[in-house]
Amino acid sequence: MTGYGTRAIARGRGGFVLALVVFMLFAISVAGAAGYLIVASEFAMARYSSEGGEALAVARAGIERFVGEHSGTVPDTVSYAMGDGVVVVTTRKLAETDSVTHLYTLKAEATVADPRTPATPARRVVTAQAILRRRPMPHLAALITSANSVTVHSFGDADGVDHNTAFDCVGGGASSITGGVARGAISGVLNGSPSSEIWPGGWDAIRDSIVARWDVLSDPDFPVDYENTLPPLGTIPADSFPLVRFTGHNLTSTSGDHNKGVLIWVGELRPWFLFNWEGIVLAENIGEPFLGFLGGGSVDGMLIGGLNADNSPSSVEIRTDVRYHSCDVYRANESLSYFELLPNTMFEAR
């Protein structure tokens, strides 16, 4: 079986098998390539669909976040990195119902890109209409607290007469307001029109009356301009009244506390004689005066305390000058402006 004829037959069969193998390999390759294309195409479609859905969610979340976190002056554009994407929220004022009620259209454009195809990100746009509530806090009284009993010591006062005598600012020259408000009884050095009032409704009535959104402002996730620190007074622009938040229990204001803006005091505010504030002070509780503190310090604007429950302690003695200043309240109030989404107006733009 090793003769020439046998080798010829073997060569002939070898060639035939080779052709068959090549054909089969080609067929398998074609089938494999087709399968790969189908799978790749399906994968790309599924991925793009998934990213599109995420982009829509990011766009919606962008509007919700902007509305939820905004306070004060309205920016033209805000950008957030959210999830795997980026959303750019743009605002445009379209109408003024009155001086404190403005209507805006909000547009959120979100893009979510796959790292493998960064040049072709999924993109979704959502629009919504919103109301800007400007300067939401009414000028009700120089001192408002849900403490049951308030005594304004002779070292301080609660004065509802407008101390902005120069009438040199927008909102200045307002009429006198109430000097002091308490839940049960208030006495001492009080001035205003009237000098004092009793609001028996408690802290929630006060919270509703002053429209302060205490639950939002005191939320640690709500962004403020300064957290647990006071900016040097000279570094704050003249027309700026920033949001400043201190968080903790039994915080004691100490030296160098002359500042301005909206002070959000989460805890018990115990003013010391160097505590001088221009604007609005919102305190979870107004506490007893600092140990040994005889008097001094001032709030030019409004001081409101007892916003999370009835003020604790229930009896408070005020040794600070709390004097209504319409301009400072007006300017600080601007920093409390907030958005409300109009229901049924958020839609995907297509």
Partner: protein
Amino acid sequence: MVGAARSGFTLVETLIALVLSTFVIGLATHAFLVQNSYYSTQTLQAEAQDNARAATQLLGLDIRTVAEDGIVTAGARTLTLRTPIATAIICNKAGAALGDVQTPGGEAGLYTPTVAGLALRNDSTWEYAIADWSTLNGSDAGSASACASAGADTVGASAEFHRLASLSSLFSTTPAIGDVVMLFRETTYSFELSALDSVSTALYRTPRGFAPLEFVTGMDSTAQFQYRVAGTSTYVDTVPSASVASIDAIRVIADARKRAASGGLSDVTFGLTTNITLRQVR
């Protein structure tokens, strides 16, 4: 000579080679036919999936943006929706009938033939009024400057402001400055006999004012809509008109069918059922 004789094939060898070749070729042919049948089935399957997916995506786009009280008809084979083209705030009034608005891209950014009407937002829903664009379209000259005078920010967007007409005759109360209006389209989707393939069902899309468009051919006769009414957990085929406003989810049963052309293959069907919640954005 002996050597030359030994160099050829014997009859037996040739017969064996023929038998083997026939067997191998038959095997390869069978493999090819099976593969071809499989490929054809896969192709039909892919096409059926494409049809089901296209129908679901098209419907999903509109269903997820349907406005409050925006379902007009809710039947097993027919669904009519109102979806926003643009929402806008009235920034100026020029008499009772005319109001200025800003929409992204302005009037040029609207595909006005599809405008089915205007809706006015109140605190809980929309009041819809059917009106074509020729009824709603006012003269745009001066819209931006009028709105700017009323406090609107028109910087860089003057061309996006335009005037709407007929406002006083469309709604129970005349819209005022600050009210939100919505230009909407009204679209009817229906599963009907295909005009392109007489033995197949198709998904038709019919914008108000337009002729029906056969959007997806190759749907199965079992394709349909189902609805869930708020407070219930089951989906039903039809919802009476009195309860249409309570629909909170729509199930799209996008069953697709591709008919086999030849070769004894069976029809390929693919079922894709999707539940789409309404008003996913508030």
